[in-house]
């Protein structure tokens, strides 16, 4: 917040070359042809304004931040008029600090301090090694990243770089609201009892990570290590049998990750792969390996990405969890994009579980009207079995229209 205020003051007095201001205002509306057992709403509308200033104070010091303002019709956005800095609530805040960081760069070293995005991995659809990247999953298939608060040091020299991250304040992923259309299907045991949500139990200690990346002639390879917590929750349920009550607690499992990701560009396609070995001390979470292998090819204006995401569970302990990352494994993933010209493009994305229990298809056409205005029309079709992570959302096929003014 302080960084954002400083940015506003400095930006007003600095020369144009030292200041960059960008942002947008947009209205997005989603139409759902089907209702769900827990939600009869068919139309969701959200308005959003983003302001994103940056200021280069000296050749070695840059301040950058962004703030969001939102409003909607379905109360996925809080109705309280407050400015949220930490962004850990179950609903989207009406006003929030999206990110705010100071970057110090001297020679090959860069230090980022503050609320920032830390993104790891090389794959495009699923990134098992991207552990500092919680997301807003209120609408599961149209998610977006949340920033984390901490410090990051990067050392880059020649073809090598080392990335060290320390995140003392935990930021969880935002999961679908109970009783809404994107809420996961509850186990049968919960249908006969009243649930009291005890809220989240946030971890107290810091998270750490390190990543080494090497760029060679015709390859790129990274090794990464993470010691922290899963930003996706596990649920523990304590039933109070006499009163037909159940107490639900959200917790975030301690997690250690060893990861590897690589990209090998070849003449006809590029191979990208990523794998993470995830180990926990939690009694309610699994030890597992998540991996992705994908081929990528660009042919003129047509881009093609296709691959497979898998998981191997080494120790199964979890009963109740919300895990979109695992929900996209044991699946074939694909993306096709075509650029028509300087103003319009079309993309298709798909995730198909190997047992065909879950299928998600999305098509999107986007067109710029001028230098500022763009409209995007998207349609998502979801099908499958209720027991499957993707299939459980089979009543959530939808159309999405977004109109955005960028500045």
């Amino acid at each position: 917040m302080i960084i954002l205020l400083i940015l506003l003051v400095l930006a007003s007095s600095a020369s144009a070359q030292d200041v960059a201001i960008r942002g947008f205002a947009e209205v997005q509306s989603a139409a759902y042809p089907e209702t769900t057992p827990q939600d009869a709403d068919r139309v969701a509308v959200e308005g959003r304004f983003r302001f994103e200033p940056a200021y280069k104070a000296t050749s070695w010091l840059t301040l950058a931040g962004s703030a969001d303002a939102r409003i909607d019709n379905l109360e996925l956005v809080e109705r309280a008029w407050r400015f949220d800095i930490r962004d850990r609530g179950v609903r989207r805040p009406p006003f929030s600090l999206r990110h705010a960081a100071v970057t110090l760069r001297r020679g090959p070293v860069a230090v980022d301090l503050g609320k920032q995005f830390i993104r790891w991995g090389k794959a495009d659809i699923l990134n098992p090694t991207d552990r500092f990247a919680p997301r807003d999953f209120l609408e599961v298939t149209d998610d977006e990243f949340l920033a984390v608060t901490g410090a990051r040091v990067q050392l880059e020299r020649g073809g090598h770089s080392i990335d060290l991250a320390w995140v003392p304040l935990f930021t969880p992923s935002r999961i679908p609201l109970a009783g809404r259309r994107w809420a996961p299907v509850a186990p049968q045991i919960l249908e006969s009892v009243a649930i009291i949500d005890l809220g989240p139990a946030f971890p107290g200690r810091s998270q750490y990570g390190a990543r080494w990346n090497a760029r060679g002639s015709g390859y790129e390879l990274s090794l990464s290590y993470f010691d922290g917590f899963n930003h996706l929750p596990h649920f523990t349920l304590q039933q109070v049998s006499e009163q037909s009550l159940a107490l639900l607690q959200r917790s975030y499992a301690p997690l250690q990750m060893a990861g590897v990701d690589a990209a090998v560009p070849l003449r006809w396609f590029a191979i990208k792969g990523e794998a993470a070995w995830l180990k926990t001390t939690s009694a309610v979470a699994d030890d597992l390996v998540l991996y992705v292998i994908q081929l990528e090819r660009q042919s003129g204006e047509l881009s093609l990405v296709g691959g497979y995401a898998g998981e191997h569970v080494a120790a199964r302990r979890s009963a109740l969890h919300f895990a979109p990352d695992r929900g996209l494994t044991r699946a074939f993933l694909g993306r096709v994009g075509y650029t028509f010209g300087p103003t319009s493009e079309m993309t298709f994305e798909a995730a198909v579980r190997q047992n065909l229990d879950g299928v998600w298809l999305k098509g999107q056409y986007s067109r710029a009207l001028d230098a500022h205005w763009r409209w995007t029309l998207a349609g998502a079709a979801i099908g499958g079995e209720e027991r499957d992570f993707i299939g459980q959302y089979r009543r959530n096929s939808h159309l999405l229209l977004t109109i955005r003014y960028s500045f």
Binding site: T62, A64, E156, N213, R215, W268, R297, T339, A368, F407
Partner: protein
């Protein structure tokens, strides 16, 4: 538009630059080539001389891109460009300034003398850099008529040359040279024809072929001498298959500006400025 302090001269002014020795050598070269016929080595010498004369330790400019489709509709894009090093072993960062929706998108290009360049793109929406696959270089750059490969620097050693003859472009006498990618170089083009101006060794036009089909034509104009280097400040790329063209106007162009190696790293791509 030139930056403060840069020395701008029109080609017609013929003002003697400090590198007067170069101009004498240049004046003698056509005579030399004429006496030796249209040999392959002559073509290479012309290209090498053109490269030598355009060499600068670094470069910075702001580019205005105007994309005109078949119907004459214009879409404007603006970028800033910085380059450290010269032909074949240079690094460059290109950062979009407009339109608003692509502001902040940045591209790091690392050119190698013996192989195709490595390229990474940073998009603020993803908050991550993405390596662009080798075959992506034939893709149009952000919907313009320039492909990623067209934005790379061409090193004289990456091609084989043959002198095809002489042909004026916009009234200026030019050598017409065929350029074929050597085996080490992966190119979308089967071959190109390059027109080099005889008076200043600047590129006047490039026509690029895929097999026998002429697919792109790049014409250079608005020549000026900036800090001793003859530079075209307007480049027009025509995509003959799509019947569209893109005009790139170079503004605030400077050579040999002080730039640091650390401004050309993946971490520097994340910088919004």
């Amino acid at each position: 538009m030139s930056s403060p302090g840069s020395k701008v001269q029109s080609p017609e002014s013929r003002v003697q630059s400090p590198k007067s020795g170069v101009w004498i050598a240049a004046a003698l070269l056509p005579i030399l080539f004429a006496s030796h016929g249209y040999a392959q080595s002559d073509a290479r010498q012309i290209m090498a001389e053109a490269q030598r004369r355009s060499e600068a330790k670094s470069q910075r400019y702001e580019g205005l891109l105007q994309v005109l489709d078949g119907g004459g509709k214009v879409a404007d894009k603006r970028w800033s460009f910085v380059r450290l090093g010269s032909h074949g072993s240079s690094k460059a960062v290109l950062r979009f300034l407009a339109p608003a929706e692509v502001k902040g998108v940045a591209l790091l290009i690392v050119n190698h003398p013996d192989r195709a360049s490595d390229q990474w793109m940073w998009t603020p929406a993803l908050q991550r850099e993405r390596r662009i696959a080798l075959q992506d270089r034939s893709t149009r750059f952000f919907g313009t008529d320039f492909s990623f490969e067209d934005l790379e620097e061409r090193d004289v050693d990456q091609y084989d040359y043959r002198l095809l003859g002489e042909q004026p472009i916009d009234g200026a006498a030019c050598w017409r040279i065929e350029s074929v990618p050597s085996k080490r170089k992966t190119s979308q083009y089967t071959r190109s024809e390059v027109w080099i101006r005889k008076d200043n060794y600047a590129f006047a036009q490039i026509e690029s072929y895929v097999k026998a089909e002429l697919v792109r034509r790049l014409t250079y104009s608005h020549f000026a001498q900036l800090q001793g280097i003859w530079t075209a400040r307007r480049l027009e790329m025509s995509d003959l298959r799509r019947k569209s063209r893109t005009i790139l106007t170079l503004e605030k162009l400077e050579y040999n500006v002080p730039l640091r190696d650390e401004d050309f790293t993946l971490q520097s791509l994340r910088n919004p400025l």
